[in-house]
């Protein structure tokens, strides 16, 4: 089954969702992230949903759950890159993503994490983008 890859950079885990998430894959991601946070001692999680053109109530609840689990495991989560059409639809749907912090892009997400955790090793955007 397909899995969403989780990248480890410094004290931050980076997840970039590139596929149409089925319920099963979303739940698998939730499990994977919980395991990786514990395994790496990560202090921050960035979930990049720039490529997601649909966020329904299941994905929305999953994102909230991931944020909640991370918090319990002492990590901050920021969801970045939400598309305007998705935001408009979520508002109409009445879904508010409780407990989920958001930022416009990966760069701003990383800055938020750094601001929340001054002593964490948060990578720069260049490091994330790669050579």
């Amino acid at each position: 089954m397909e899995r969403v890859p989780v990248l480890n950079l410094g004290d931050v885990l980076l997840v970039s969702i590139q596929i149409d998430l089925s319920d099963e894959i979303a739940l698998r991601l939730q499990d994977d992230l919980a395991e990786r946070i514990v395994a790496t001692g990560a202090q921050g999680v960035i979930i990049d949903i720039t490529a997601l053109d649909i966020v329904d109530s299941f994905v929305g609840r999953t994102l909230s759950t991931i944020a909640g689990i991370s918090r319990v495991l002492d990590a901050d989560t920021v969801v970045v890159g939400m598309r305007p059409a998705v935001a408009i639809t979520l508002v109409e749907l009445g879904l508010s993503l409780p407990g989920v912090r958001t930022a416009l892009n990966v760069e701003q997400g990383l800055r938020r994490l750094q601001a929340a955790r001054p002593h964490a090793a948060v990578p720069t955007v260049e490091a994330v983008a790669g050579p």
Partner: protein, 140 residues
């Protein structure tokens, strides 16, 4: 009353029996929405509504199917999707259509949300007789 006259026979039927089928429904509705020349925001709304309703048919209805049609009312084109399941039906429809309604498991039926995302919404259900939800989204 759905005012989608001059409908063609069903353009596509997606069986809803498993998790992956909800993705298939989204993909099928996306194609239909693009063909009906819906704006990006309207496409997103109808695909999201379809995702909610397909999931309902699966988790509450025990499985079913989605029937898609491209429709036209003379001036505008649109997408019509009908979700059918032979499940237990919805006992308290009024409650289900109210915001914030959830069944005991915490999984909302998402009906009220889906209704806000589409232009026309019709539901037929009765305890023990399954559920049929029909939605239409028109281009502007």
């Amino acid at each position: 009353m759905i005012e989608a006259d001059r409908t063609r026979p069903a353009d596509g039927i997606v069986r809803i029996a498993g998790d992956q089928d909800i993705v298939r429904v989204r993909q099928a509705v996306r194609s239909a929405a693009v063909e009906a020349r819906l704006s990006l925001v309207d496409q997103t709304k109808v695909i999201t509504a379809a995702s909610e309703l397909a999931r309902n048919a699966l988790t509450h209805g025990g499985g079913g199917r989605a029937e898609l049609r491209g429709v036209s009312n003379g001036r505008r084109s649109g997408v019509r999707v009908e979700f059918v399941d032979q499940g237990p039906g919805i006992t308290d429809l009024d409650a289900a259509l109210t915001d914030g309604f959830t069944t005991g498991t915490g999984l909302g039926l998402g009906l009220s949300g889906a209704r806000r995302l589409v232009d026309e919404f019709e539901i037929e259900t009765a305890p023990g007789e399954g559920t049929r939800v029909t939605v239409v989204k028109w281009s502007r």
